[in-house]
Point group: D2
Chain length 324, copies 4
């Protein structure tokens, strides 16, 4: 049997952590050295049809892993990233701690922002990668062709209305996440540009010198998984065939599906893909695109993209264990 590379998961009891464990268990070249959880250390859980037992985050030997995924909460993760590095492991950090636009505008020094399709080579060379947030993954990949070609109208407003399944809010019990509250409901949250993910989205827009306003309104959907981002973007000038921009940019990307249909959550759940379409808004004075992107918040928006980055950092095929 082939040798497998041992990797570990911190924060394994949350939704993203369990998704990571499942992906590692099914990965052809990775083995699960540990699945650590703070308060739930010692507990058993079913992951992908298997029973696993959580280790204690503070007791586990981080150095037994060649790479550690940290799915710890924001604020708590950076310390464990440092510990894992000190123990000799590479790290993919799924928290916001090292991303740009948070602690400092550019992100932690020497830590690439792991939007793989943008930063592939930096990720390959890195010891630590800051895995993007779920909303930024959908939004930024959707905007990428426009940003790279400087097609966003300066002074215009990019309006992002995005909706996420409840697993995006984590596994910690809260009144407002009970089935009896979420079912048959739909609501915005963090409206008025106060959501934590604004920072990393603006940092990327700035990196492309897009001088547009960004208005981002997330919503809570009565579904378990998935993000749909619906984006209106005013253009510098009318583009004849807008979808061709996406088709061309992503032609060789294994995890981006460009489509003339409207993407839905069903198309993407449990898959490491972003599915995107774009079209003109009819009947407007100023040329304006509607861009719609769907991802699974736990896969392409978290654990899947983390494995995609880890594959690069470990010298494996980028698509290993991530059948699209």
């Amino acid at each position: 049997m082939m040798h497998k590379i041992p990797v570990g998961v911190l924060g394994a009891s949350g939704y993203a952590g369990r998704e990571l464990c499942g992906l590692v268990l099914a990965h052809p070249s990775l083995s699960l050295a540990f699945a650590a959880a703070g308060a739930r250390g010692g507990e058993r859980a079913r992951v992908a049809g298997r029973d696993i037992t959580f280790a204690n985050s503070d007791a586990v030997d981080l150095g037994q892993a060649a790479l550690v995924f940290s799915a710890l909460p924001h604020g708590a993760s950076a310390e464990y990233v440092a510990r894992a590095r000190a123990a000799g492991a590479k790290v993919v950090d799924l928290s916001a701690d090292l991303r740009p636009g948070n602690a400092n505008p550019a992100g932690a020094e020497g830590v690439p922002y792991g939007l793989t399709e943008v930063a592939r080579e930096a990720v390959r060379a890195a010891d630590v990668v800051a895995n993007p947030g779920c909303y930024p993954t959908a939004t930024l990949l959707a905007l990428l062709p426009l940003l790279e070609r400087k097609l966003v109208a300066p002074g215009g407003t990019i309006s992002v209305s995005a909706a996420s399944g409840v697993t995006g809010a984590g596994f910690t019990p809260r009144h407002d996440l009970l089935f009896g509250e979420v079912s048959e409901d739909f609501r915005a949250y963090g409206a008025g540009n106060v959501h934590r993910h604004l920072g990393e989205m603006r940092a990327t827009l700035d990196a492309f010198a897009a001088e547009a306003d960004l208005v981002f309104t997330p919503h809570l959907l009565p579904v378990a998984r998935g993000i749909l981002a619906t984006i209106t973007v005013p253009l510098v000038e009318r583009v004849e065939n807008p979808l061709a921009l996406w088709e061309e940019r992503f032609a060789r990307e294994p995890f981006v599906e460009v489509t003339s249909e409207l993407p839905t959550l069903k198309d993407v759940v449990r898959r490491n893909v972003v599915r995107v379409t774009a079209m003109h808004a009819q009947g407007t004075r100023r040329p304006t695109l509607v861009v719609i992107a769907a991802i699974d918040n736990l896969v392409k928006g978290a654990a899947g993209q983390a494995v995609q980055n880890a594959n690069l950092m470990l010298g494996l095929d980028e698509t290993a264990g991530l059948a699209a």
Copy 2:
């Protein structure tokens, strides 16, 4: 016992039609003269805890009703509106047939567009009223204070991302409305400004001479009822306390709730209200508001507003049978 005014319902077997029957049955001053359904004439249905039997649309004597609600499909309704008028009944038409922006830009002549909070006096005097669509009701009431005060930036883009429960798509069986397809999914439809409701929204913007682009993207939610509209609006100038505009405008409106909280579907289902908030988007170059409104698509977005209009047309208290 008090005399009740007989009213009839055409298209009673659909979701809006059944909601109308329920409201009429519970109304203190109205009685249900008939509930007619085309293909399902003769069938029984449970409405609001009662068994009713649908009459045949073509066999029913329209003149027995002082007012007829038509919840017939778009395209089929106008003919029955004419028949009901010929039989001497007033009419509230819930279809798009007589609304502005459809057959002709201004709507059918002499038929007010029954957004009650805008057209109250015209409705009171009318024999026929075109009841607004569900999305336009939420969107236009949300925008009303800005439109009336000319605060929308000329040349800017009003971006409306709205999501509706499946009853908005009607009761006709379709693959894409099956529980197995809708559950755990979320999708846009009519994207790119091709939804039927664009016409009546633009007509109202034009009536207020708002020279802004409108981009409207509706979505299908895995819930039975409710619409949430999330709107970004660039302003002519910064407004100190935006919510005060709504509080002032709607202070005496019985069916508009202005709130500093984010409205949710749960707040409004089974109630004839629009619930709305507004706030600045932080960190933008151009002053921009986020306005969020919630309604029940079948009540304030259809049957409830229809009864509100009918109350006015019949000289009853506007709120009769519509406890907020």
Copy 3:
């Protein structure tokens, strides 16, 4: 304006407590003297379209209410029942504390088990009533005609498979009640006859000298509200027209709907009714009935039945505030 009788609610922040507040606020003859909640005292909540503020359970003057509803947790309620009695208030206790089959086989002395359709006169005369559990309400009303007529086969097994919406599990945040866990799932719990409600169901069977085994398996449904109980009952002898037994027994009951259709949750949610049908199981050696009953666990299974009992205790019409 008519004088209203002041009543209070303890445990007002839970699902049953909030339902009680809503019913009291809409009741023609009751007023809400207080809505008290322990840990959430001082918090605001929206109930039935109104904002209410919870009082502190220990600070509230129980004597200002003519009757107190206790929706406190099992174990914590009995003490407050005593306090309310000492303050001069009548009490409807929604907890299990005073029901038969719990602390003692017969229930608390002098406290009728308030299954209204069985104990109407005792309830009318009582100062304290033990409001039945949600599952027992559905199950026992469904079985009542068979129990009263001694039609259950001695030595046979009454098999009750019942499923409840999540509000039956309360408002306390728990991992297993999160939307992400409940959605698209279905599971039994308390299987093997270990559910708390067994006691009061067996006590009632014993009261009717039914010498049959009872096997009760509850399930958690991915819905907010409603209980459906599906019951198989072996009979002493074949009955010609089983449904007639229910029709006859409940002919004058305002809150029992006997139907030849299969009851569904949709038929009963937000209504104070039990809806029931019965039929023979075809092709069996021993005559066996299938009896199916549906209730709203928060209304007929909790707050509605509590108001029904309170109406009797306060000399009001039994149906006041409970439009079926």
Copy 4:
């Protein structure tokens, strides 16, 4: 690259048919020769992240497949089974047409009833197999240890209360399967022992000479996938450790999970397993077991079991393409 065996799917546009296509496309030793659909021939569909185009059922060359899966409707399937046989293909028929208890008590001659764990060797030798129904698969595998050991009390009543996700009702649009009708609802159907699946369940009970009554009540769950069967069984005699009977019987079965936990739909969806537990009902006069089993109705209850049978018929490893 390894040679793959061509197989075809009839009735590919329904839920079971699409599930079959997905399993075949991911199978290491099978290739999809055709996916035929009657009315939807020529249409495209997304299956397991791929776009496939349906062939026309009547135009397709059945002989190009070594084995044909028929997921055609009951009544329509038998004819195509005969055609496929005439063309030289083996057949797994997912319809009820050839199962025992339907056309004739014993089923079609020479066609084993493919409950794989019972009929493995007969399936291996067969050219045509009648794939069991979804409810019977869950129910009969749950009862198997009791049936084989003659532990069911003669004259007793096996009460089966089972609930299925909506995909069990098929992909044909019906009012009662719309999201707006199913969401927040739960209902029994086919109550009183009139469900089509009674025949094949009774035929299997008869084959084991179990002289017990069977009462089977199916229910429609507001979930897409999964069946949970809750069964009460009176025993001939008390059994010390009931779960050991299942553990022993299924110790070497790759697709049966025996557990001391209560199985849930989440444990089994998208997996080819039945998950089962058993325990005594406490406090009964007669020893009575509660047995609970969960399956995915589309996998172990249809397409997965069909592939399991096909693997045997084609000389492949029984578990190929069916990672538990």
